[in-house]
Symmetry: C2
Subunit: 202 residues, 2 copies
DNA sequence: CGCCATTTTCATCATGTGTTGAATTATGAG
DNA sequence: CTCATAATTCAACACATGATGAAAATGGCG
């Protein structure tokens, strides 16, 4: 957005003032990675969105892959956020889990990173990132911590519902899910999750 | 894979025999689009996989976009496949819907097309394809046909669970979901879908 | 002020992309 | 056999991409 003064013949060299250009680049990268995914986002488009030369992107962040992981720095530590879910016991665990997810995703600043991550997972070579990442780190500990039988199976059932919700509500923004009230969502989905977590499995 | 005879000095010109090269190209395109998505799959890689010059791809299918839609020709007409779901009444509709989905997705030949479609949906500019496609055409008629209240809302709830299942089981191939028996899946998920379709909503 | 480190652009490279047009060879109809 | 047509590759284009190295401008420290 910010174009340089075209009056001067040469725009080269340091810019006056103290603009945090590095942060602007990172913000642009986050936004673009989140909406277009990794491979469809060019370094040049990020630089253009930040009003900056592409070289500057490399100067600050190195390679494009480096920039991606820098843009993905999660604003939440999942293990911390999910602690109340695991501590509260089996009763109501589904509802608590859902509340944590919704509160994280409905935070505007966190959303961009999360969308970038989700998009990255579905690009080639990003598949086991989710398998080992989301399932392993985010949801993985929940099953054992709640002391249920067949924890892996139960957790993947829960994941299938949560991921579907995320896809439709946040990634594809399908109505009426996208603009549905959080409390209604909790009331709708909590029983499902609770069943997957606690009820006897076939 | 099929390389030409390197003994001859020039490989140009028509190939002897009657190989259905067009079909081979289409098969390669399906496989690559399904695993890597649209933008990460190059015309050249498709040509290479079919053992063919890139020009031939254009000769047969025109532009890359044309090839994509050609590769996406669904082997099933969703409206036909879903007819029994709508005709059977509300009772057991969730289970019937699930059975249709699983039978289509577990067919090896259909799977590649479907994976390509799903991947395409999550690429930039492919978003409203799902919104209008899957929701509108595939699942859309189900709600009204079953005569339930708030059909859009119910259908999007169902979609959120089905899509999550598809993502984990077929796209990311997360265990134990990926190798779970179909009947077990039906027993597990049918109650959820039935609840979304028929139970009172909050 | 003088100087060094930082920030920024410019010019450029090597590579990969989608696409086109001409050239070459085999097939099949008459 | 002849010859038009279809099948196939070669060579090249115009362009976008990720990346690099050098040059220029500014800020802050002495």
């Amino acid at each position: 957005m910010t174009t340089r003064d075209p009056g001067r013949s040469n725009n080269r060299g340091r810019r006056p003032g103290a603009p945090d250009t590095r942060a602007e680049i990172l913000a642009s990268a986050r936004a673009l990675f989140a909406t277009r995914g990794f491979s469809s986002t060019s370094v040049r488009s990020i630089a253009a969105a930040a009003g900056v030369d592409p070289s500057l992107v490399h100067h600050y962040f190195g390679t494009k892959d480096d920039l991606f992981v820098a843009a993905l720095e999660l604003p939440v530590d999942p293990r911390v956020a999910l602690q109340p879910v695991m501590e509260g016991g089996l009763e109501g665990a589904g509802e608590r889990l859902l509340r944590v997810f919704l509160s994280v995703w409905d935070d505007e600043t966190a959303r961009l990173s999360l969308l970038g991550l989700v998009r990255g997972v579905f690009e080639p070579s990003g598949r086991q990132l989710l398998r080992d990442g989301l399932i392993g780190v985010v949801l993985g500990p929940i099953g054992p911590a709640l002391g249920v039988d067949e924890p892996q199976r139960r957790v993947s059932l829960v994941a299938s519902q949560v991921i579907g919700l995320v896809m439709l509500r946040y990634v594809l923004e399908v109505e009426p899910l996208a603009s549905m009230d959080g409390e209604v969502l909790v009331a709708t989905y909590a029983p499902t999750l609770q069943r997957y977590l606690a009820d006897p499995l076939p």
